[in-house]
Each structure stands twice: as structure tokens, then as C-alpha cells.
Amino acid sequence: MTDAFIYDHVRSPRGRGKKDGSLHTITPIDLLSQVLVAVRERNEFDIADLDDVVTGCVTAVGEQGGNIGRFAAIMADYTDEVPGLHVNRFCASGLVAANYAAARIMAGQADMMIGCGVESMSRVQMGFDGGAWLFDPQVTNKIGSVLQGISADMIATKYGFSRDDCDEYAVLSQQRAKAAWDAGHFKGAILPIRDSIGRTMLDHDEHMRPGTSTEDLAALKSSFNDMGELGFNSVIMQKYPEIERMNHVHHAGNSSGIVDGASAVLLGTEEAGKKHDLKPRARIVGFADVGTDPSIMLTGPGKSARKALERAGLTKDDIDVWEVNEAFASVVLRFCQEMDLGTDKVNVNGGAIAMGHPLGATGNMLLGTAVDELERTGGRYALVTLCVAGGMATATIIERV
């Protein structure tokens, strides 16, 4: 099997995913193509050697529809010769894009690939692509479909995480993100996004609220009480009949932020790197996708991590850097509980609670963050995982080289 190496990664800053967000006026295709331009400029490779641009994007309708990666590549002047592929594994799409790109290389079917991701949540509303799993009664009934927040609250209820536990974790995420920014840990990856006349629109993650305290968060009303009472609690509780009452713990402050962003990872064989005089930074060790109960939906990271570790012949003790997407506080807390890890080794540079979760791009960003953290700390292995809607999860293990 051919080794697939990460040669570079670039990401946009994350803009607030609202109409007043700094990236709201830029189209998602422009956002992604700026990142693609940066990848090419930073690495000066011959575009003719690039085999494909694999793009993760979740809400692939409207201006994010129709295989956005193919056309973002053309807009980035990758020439007509570079094809593009859209992948959607919901929140793990950006990671799956990189995995798929790596898989093509590992299988000997490509030499140089880009795995990237984009989501402009301020412009294309989450859920706008619909889907049978959300509203076809035959499907929703079979899977026990509930809102993700209800699933996250069920994780907290079932596995015993209190509102305080979740709020404390959220504050930790904010503090770590702030510290990481202040220390310049993201400097190498961030590409300031500019408008069409060259003005900088955003050069930092603007969703962060570094001063947030647990007292601030305690004042917030939990978000999913009413929807739960409406009927969603009944749906999920029937799957977990040992649960007497739902504990609704999540709110905007301990859940991932809605943001705009794009990210890309450049991958290739060892030979391709040599040919273009690129320095390999990490090797893709392996990856795994899993399915779990689609109702509680967000409990897959542990299973995917174990599967990836097992396939790689590693144990959790081999992992130096853990990136677990902070979709909701309870997801990370459950992962740490399940894997018997302290939170001190997980998401040390903060995560989506502080910086936001641009759905299709996040997994790609986390992969880049893991590469940087391995390099900064001199660690060897990192594991990146994300919970995925519909009861899935994806995990990727990389090794610093």
C-alpha cells in the first residue's frame, strides 16, 4: 500500500454564521476557492499533477449545491483539467474528504489530491437540504429521528453529565481557544479572507467569547426543553426505556457555534512530494467510519476511534493529540468517559464550542490542527474524530513525519 502524506493545510478564519458575520457577504464558492488558491500558492506544485479535489459540504443546495468543489477549483484557476467530487457525511464531511483523497493515493489510484470542505452557514441554512431522515414519516419513525440537541441532551442524561459539567467544559474550550490564538498556534493555517477588491474581511475566529464564565453560562436557558416536551423526548426515550426523565443541559453556550468557513488539506505520495519539493508533515495512518443508533445519533466517536486504532494496531496510549469535535459538550465528555481519557489531553487548542463548527469544513480543519499540534509538541500520533448526524462517526489517525 502506498503511503499518503499531508503536505499542507490551510483554513479560513471562522465567521459568525449570521447576517452580521464577517464572511456573510462572500459566496461559499469564493470562500473555498480562496483557500484553494492559497494551497496552490503556498506549495507551488504543477496543477497538472493534481488528480482531484474532494470537497465536504453538508447543506449542498442552492449556491452550495451541484458539486461545489469542481467549480471552486475552476474559480481558483486550477484549470479545466482538475475534476471535483462532493462528499457528504454530515459533520465529518471535511474529514471524510481528506480520508477519501488519502484512500485514492493509498490505493495507488492517485498521486496528488486535495481534500477540502466548506460551509457558509450564514448563507445556506442548516437543514435546508431536507432529507428523508428528517421528514419522511416512514424513515423518521424507523430511526426515531429527533433534533440533534435532544440527542445531545440524552447523552448527558444517560451518561450522567450535569449542566454544570457541560458548562465547565464549554468555558474550558473558550479559554483554550483564546490561549491557542494568543500563542499563535493557528498562525500557520489561517488564511485571511478578502473581498473582491482586496480588503481583508476576516483574519481571526470571530465566534469566540474568551471571557465567558460558568456563571454567564448558568444564566442561559436550556435550548431544547420545549421541543422535547412537544414530542421529541418521547421519541428518544422510547429507545432508552431505563430513562425516567430527560435532563436538558445544552444551550448556545455549550454547543458548537454556527459559523462560515472553508479548509483544505494537500495530500500526496512520497514521490509526488519529492517531485514538487514539498516537505511531508504527517502520514495518514488509517481511518474508520461507523454507524450507531441514529436516534441518540452522536455517540459514535468512541466506536470510530476504537475501530481506527484497532485497524492501525495502536492503542489509545499511543495517541498524543486528540481532536474530538465539540458538537455539544456532552459528546466530548462522553467520548472521554468511554475512552477513559481526561479532558486535559483532548482538544487542547479549544474547539467548536469556542470557535464554531462550519459543518462541511470542520473535520478538515481539525485534521490540520492535529498536524500543527503534533509538530508543536513533538508528539507522534494524533486522532481526529467527529460525531455525525444520523448516528455515524468518522475517525482518522495521523503520524507526524
Partner: protein, 717 residues
């Protein structure tokens, strides 16, 4: 040509009047005659150029058309073992197709609705091009199919939402609730309300005025009010929320609700011809399942038979109650007084102290005032109802009563004393009923001079809401008493079952096994929430711990002690007796003192008492929900079978009705006996044998079941 279901008259203006008058049916319903005659009439109208259009009305004043003949559906189902799904589809699609022909026949068809319009009646109406309804608030229009596990199968899931909007139509489809004419007008379901004697003229006038033979949904630019299709955010939200809201009610035990949602969801992305095809597929699925047939049989066919007093001795003359002597004005007595006065019966409400008797009447006052506030009752009727109840402490007031019901303390001595006092003043041979829930009728009858006139009339609490009355025939009870009691139950519009005397009779005896088995499991260390939820999720009206708290732990304890004393060596001790004993000892008497299996905080929802787990620590291994559910349901079903073996309850029909309406057994099963039949005697016996091995003699299979198993027979044909 004579017609058996739909008359046909052509008037001078060239309008065909089709009058529904179905032979041999007390109420107009859709049967095969109706379908073939309507089909012929529509073809006539379509084919005769001298006929301008048609008006459909009813020749009956009680109903316009009350839906399809469920007996016909059940009959068709009886043959389904030989029928392919395709054949069942064709059979059920024929009505859908017929109504589609009404709206596409090319001639304007109007409907003049003059009475109850349910199910297929409303579906036919919606397939007409113009709808006039009589100005009468008592007329109900609705699609109640879901209540017997079916879905509207003649276009109801397609036309109602196209008329009134998907979101607004869903509650009518999913809950089967009715609308009155005013609501029908504001819902866009009818075009016009007119006085009853003008509706046919109005319908004709619409045709003569140039009414068009086209439905809005067959127009190119038709849009469903309130949005349509999977690209409309309103509709997306509706279909994300509605299934969850539905499951909150159904606990996913009623597949018809999901089928309705799907028929609406899929059908409203299609033209009508295809939409009704999709609807009929979902309808067929319900017919092919076990739930709809069981529900139709018990909740509709057999309940109707019970309401019409199928168990009444035929040779007894009708014996309506005019004046009821109600002995005891406590919770039960007060409730019985209320439902009796509501039915126009004069009630003498007697208690030891005037204060108690008055308090008993106040119960009616409170209910009446509630009714007035909600406009469920007129002031005149309210006054009349209250005037019929006379509170008293004087036995002399019982003079002239033609029925006595006693609901005093459950103490044989007290009861005997009251009986003697009453007997002194009431007419000789007056029928005397006891509302006891625990004491043997045969024993109580001994204190009455005419044992043959003594009968058990067992109500359920709260009396005004609970639909069942359990009539208990003692050893010496005669036919006159039985007839009188049944006629009375019919008068107060409740559903009777007739059972024979036994400890706890039928309902109480079987019901108690439900909370008892729950307590057995608690003692084994099974998680209380798992036990409680398994009961609720299985479709039981109330969870086993919640219902035990309602009954009262003290009462459960006393009943247990009394049973133990009465049975002596035969008493089978279970772990549950100790659980109840423990709670009793701790003073946790249930809801009445705000502590039992549950805690009842002031401003919060009740929650299971965490102390349960201190006394009964959680076992390391927890059973599956399926196992817990089986224990809860099978335990009850086995007791029902034992009651049938002991001739306490004599018919499967009564057993099923009593279970659902008496103690809230899961309605989707059609009752415990239907449930056993559906599982299959053989499988049921094997499963119970396995349970008996693990959990003891409570699951011991009665010999009768083993016999049925070897005969290959079933309870219902």
C-alpha cells in the same frame, strides 16, 4: 327500479337527486349495495346529456352517511388468508376509485349534508364539487378511522389537507376528531351552511347557477393552502414535528398514525389519481396487519354489541330506571348520582350525615359548572340535572325507587346494615345493586330479602369518565335483576360486561396482577423506570407504579392481607406482597398522601421515589424492555384466561372489552384475549412456560390453553 341503498329521482330541471337510504341498517353506512348503486347513478348522470348534474343527500335524519360498514371490512378480512395483498388492495381501492369517478364524471355533483357524516361519508362529500351542510350544531363531520387502527381509505387523507391545508388537517386525520358545520365552513370543508329544509335546493341552485364539474386539485395552478411539498419550509417543519407529537400520544403502538402521515406526505406531492393509489396502499397495509382487525373487532363491533346489551336475557321486558336510590355519597356514589341524573334519572342521594350527602351533590355541581364554562351543557339542562338529585339522610326518601345502588364502606357489616334499612322502605322486590369492588355478591345478597334481585353493579373511578360498568351476577341473582341492571347501564350510556361472582370479580382481579408483577420485578432489582416505562410504552393507560399509587398502597396492602386470609394455604406469596408491605410500613400510601412509588412535589412533575433503589438495589444484569413488557402483559392475560376457565367471565368479547375499558389494557391489542390469539396460542404457551421457569408459578400456563394448543384452536373464530 327499486334501490336498496341510494334512490334516484330526476327532477324537471334535469338534476338527479340521489338519496341515501340503506336498507336493513339503522344508520346509513357504505356497503356493497351502496357502492354499486352510486356507481350506476354516476354513470347514468355522466352518460345522459339531459341530466345537468346530481345532488346527493340522505333520506335519514340521524345520519347522512356514517362511513363504511366495518362488519363488511372484518368479513372481507376473515377471508384474507386466501387473498393476496393485490386482491385486498383492489377491494379497498374500489371505494377510492368510485369517489374519484364522482368528481371526474364531467357533470357537477353537489352534496346536501343533513346529518352525521363520518369516514366514507365525509370522503364522499369531499369528492363532490359543491357541499352544503344543514345549520345544525349537532351534525358531526370527521374521519375517525384512526380510532379503530385504520386510515381514511377513500381519499380522506388526500382531499381534507387539499381543502384546509396539511398542518390544520393533520389533527383531524391523526386523532379522528370531529368538526361541526361552522368549523367545517371555516375549515373550507363545506361551501355553505343553510337551514336543513333548504340544503337540497341550495345544492340544486348551485348546479343551475352554472356550477362547474371540477375540483380545485385538478386545476393546473392548484396550490394547497398553507404550503405543499418537501421544498416548503412550513411543510418541512410540520413533518419534522408531527411524527414526534404523534408518538408522544401513541408510543408508537398505532401504525395507522404513521401510515396517515405518510399518505399525506407522499400523496401531496402527487396528482390525485396517483395520490389515492398511495393512500390505498397504506390502507391495505393496515388491513394486512393485526392491529386494525383486533381494534375493529373489540373497540367497534363487540363494543357496539355490548352497548346494545348482547348479554341481556331476551325474555325480560324493558325495565328503565326512573328513580335511583343511591346509598352512600362518597366519591363513587357522587359520581353515580351525576351520571344517572345526566341521563334524566331521579336520584335520591343518601348518606349518614347531611353534610356528606350535600357534598356528594356538590360533585355534580362542580362538573356542571365546568360544563357550563366550556359550553358543553345549557343552563336549562344544568338546572334540570341538579334538580334531579335529592341529598338526604332519611331512608324514607327511598320510597318509590325502582333501583338501588349501594356504595358505602367496603365492610360487610356496614353494607348489611344499610341494606336492611333500605329494604324497609323500598318497594318489595326492588332490584338492589352493590358497587362493591371486593366483596362477594353472593355473600352480600344474603342480607337482602330477595337474593334473586341482588346484583353487583361495579363502576370505575372517576365514574363520569370511565366508560365501563362491570355487572356481577351472584349465585342466586335472577334474570330480572340482570335485565334491570343492563337497561340502567344503557340508560347512562356506558358499556356493560357481565361476569360471575368471584374474588375481585373480573376486572379488579386481573388488573391487580399488573402492579403486582411490576413490584415483583422491583424486588428483583430491575430498574424502576424500566418497569414503569415498559408498561406505558406497551400502551397501558398508566404505568404500573403510577396506577398502584392511584389505587393506594394501603388498599393494595389490605386486599393482599384479605386475600391471604381468605385463601389460607392456597395463597401464593409473591415478592410484590413484601414490596407493598414495605411501602405501607413506611407510610407511603400513594398519591393520597403524596408519597408512594412516586414522590409528588408541589410544583414539579411527580418522579419515582429514589428510595426505591435503597430498598431494592439495582441488579447488575437488567432485562430487555421486551422481557419486562412480556411479564407485564402476559401476567394479566394469563389471569384473564384463568377467569375464563373459572367461568368468572364467560366470553372472550367481554374479557377484551372489560380489560380495555375497565383497567386500561393496551387498546392496540384488541384486549388480552385478542393479544393471545394474535401471538398464537402455541407461541404464547411456550413463552409463558419459559417465564414460569424463570419467574415462578404466576406464569403457569392453564390447562385450557394447552388443550387449545393441541387442538389448534383459538379464542376467536
Amino acid at each position: 327500479m327499486t334501490h336498496k341503498a341510494v334512490k334516484f329521482e330526476l327532477d324537471n330541471d334535469g338534476i338527479a337527486l340521489m338519496t341515501i337510504d340503506v336498507d336493513g341498517q339503522s344508520m346509513n353506512i357504505i356497503n356493497k349495495d351502496f357502492m354499486s348503486e352510486l356507481d350506476a347513478h354516476i354513470k347514468t348522470i355522466a352518460g345522459d346529456e339531459n341530466i345537468k348534474g346530481g345532488v346527493i343527500t340522505s333520506g335519514r335524519d340521524n345520519a347522512f352517511l356514517a362511513g363504511a360498514d366495518l362488519n363488511m371490512i372484518l368479513g372481507d378480512l376473515a377471508m384474507r388468508d386466501d387473498a393476496t395483498p393485490e386482491e385486498i388492495f383492489e377491494g379497498s381501492f374500489s371505494l377510492n376509485k368510485l369517489f374519484r369517478e364522482v368528481e371526474t364524471c364531467g357533470k357537477p355533483i353537489a352534496v346536501a349534508i343533513n346529518g352525521l357524516t363520518l369516514g366514507g361519508g365525509l370522503e364522499l362529500s369531499m369528492a363532490c364539487h359543491y357541499r352544503v351542510v344543514a345549520d345544525n350544531d349537532k351534525i358531526k363531520l370527521g374521519l375517525p378511522e384512526v380510532q379503530v387502527g385504520l386510515i381514511p381509505g377513500a381519499g380522506g387523507t388526500q382531499r381534507l389537507p387539499r381543502l384546509m391545508g396539511i398542518q390544520l388537517a393533520l389533527p383531524y386525520l391523526l386523532q379522528g376528531k370531529n368538526m361541526n358545520p361552522k368549523q367545517a365552513l371555516s375549515n373550507n370543508v363545506v361551501h355553505e351552511i343553510a337551514p336543513a329544509d333548504e340544503i337540497v335546493d341550495k345544492a340544486k341552485a348551485w348546479i343551475l347557477g352554472g356550477g362547474k364539474a371540477e375540483q380545485p386539485w385538478d386545476q393546473k395552478r392548484f396550490k394547497i393552502p398553507g404550503g405543499q411539498g418537501v421544498y416548503d419550509p412550513n411543510i418541512v417543519q410540520t413533518f419534522m414535528g408531527a411524527p414526534a407529537m404523534t408518538q408522544k400520544q401513541t408510543k408508537n403502538n398505532y401504525p395507522a398514525t404513521v401510515a396517515i402521515l405518510s399518505a399525506v406526505f407522499e400523496g401531496h406531492q402527487l396528482p390525485m389519481d396517483q395520490a389515492i393509489d398511495v393512500e390505498s396502499r397504506y390502507f391495505t397495509q393496515q388491513l394486512l396487519g393485526t392491529i386494525a382487525p383486533n381494534m375493529i373487532r373489540t373497540l367497534f363491533v363487540n363494543k357496539n354489541k355490548a352497548d346494545k346489551l348482547v348479554r341481556r336475557p331476551k325474555d325480560q321486558p324493558e325495565a328503565k330506571t326512573k328513580k335511583l336510590g343511591m346509598l352512600g355519597a362518597g366519591l363513587m356514589g357522587a359520581g353515580i348520582a351525576y351520571v344517572s341524573a345526566r341521563a334524566g334519572i331521579e336520584v335520591v342521594l343518601l348518606d349518614r350525615e347531611m353534610e356528606y350527602a350535600e357534598k356528594g351533590k356538590d360533585y355534580s355541581k362542580t362538573l356542571v359548572e365546568k360544563g357550563l364554562k366550556r359550553k358543553k351543557i345549557t343552563q336549562e339542562k344544568a338546572d334540570k340535572l341538579l334538580s334531579l338529585i335529592k341529598p338526604t339522610t332519611d331512608y324514607a326518601d327511598l320510597e318509590g325507587c325502582d333501583l338501588i345502588i349501594e356504595a358505602v364502606l367496603e365492610d360487610p357489616k356496614v353494607k348489611a346494615d344499610v341494606t336492611k334499612k333500605a329494604e324497609a322502605v323500598i318497594p318489595d322486590g326492588c332490584i338492589y345493586g352493590s358497587n362493591t369492588s371486593t366483596l362477594p355478591i353472593t355473600m352480600l345478597a344474603k342480607s337482602y330479602g330477595h337474593e334473586d334481585k341482588f346484583i353487583g353493579i361495579h363502576f370505575f373511578s372517576p365514574v363520569d369518565k370511565m366508560p365501563l360498568v362491570e355487572i356481577i351476577v351472584g349465585e342466586n341473582t335472577g334474570d330480572e335483576a340482570l335485565a334491570k341492571a343492563l337497561d340502567y347501564v344503557r340508560q347512562i350510556r356506558k358499556t356493560p360486561i357481565v361476569v360471575n361472582d368471584s374474588r375481585g370479580f373480573y376486572t379488579s382481579r386481573c388488573f391487580m396482577t399488573y402492579p403486582l408483577e411490576a413490584s415483583n420485578m422491583l424486588a428483583e432489582g430491575i430498574a424502576p423506570a424500566l418497569i414503569e416505562n415498559s408498561g406505558v410504552y406497551a400502551g397501558m393507560a398508566v404505568g404500573p407504579f403510577a396506577v398502584n399509587d392511584e389505587v393506594g398502597i394501603d388498599l393494595s396492602h389490605h386486599i393482599g392481607e384479605a386475600t391471604k386470609a381468605a385463601l389460607g394455604d392456597k395463597f401464593q406469596k409473591e415478592a410484590s406482597h413484601d414490596v407493598i408491605g414495605k411501602l405501607y410500613e413506611l407510610g407511603r400510601n400513594g398519591k393520597k398522601n403524596k408519597k408512594g412509588f412516586y414522590e409528588y412535589p408541589e410544583d414539579e412533575k411527580k418522579f419515582l421515589w429514589p428510595g426505591l433503589q435503597d430498598h431494592y438495589p439495582l441488579a447488575d444484569e437488567q432485562p430487555t424492555q421486551e422481557e419486562v413488557t412480556k411479564r407485564l402483559l402476559y401476567r394479566q392475560a394469563l389471569e384473564v384466561v384463568r377467569c375464563m376457565d373459572e367461568n368468572v367471565v364467560t366470553a372472550a368479547e367481554d374479557a377484551d372489552i372489560g380489560a380495555i375499558f375497565g383497567w386500561g389494557f393496551a387498546p392496540w391489542t384488541g384486549g388480552p384475549i385478542s393479544m393471545i390469539d394474535t401471538i398464537g396460542i402455541s407461541t404464547f404457551v411456550e413463552e409463558c412456560d419459559a417465564l414460569a421457569e424463570k419467574y415462578g408459578p404466576a406464569f403457569k400456563v392453564p390447562e385450557s390453553l394447552r388443550k387449545m394448543r393441541s387442538n389448534g384452536s383459538s379464542f376467536y373464530p
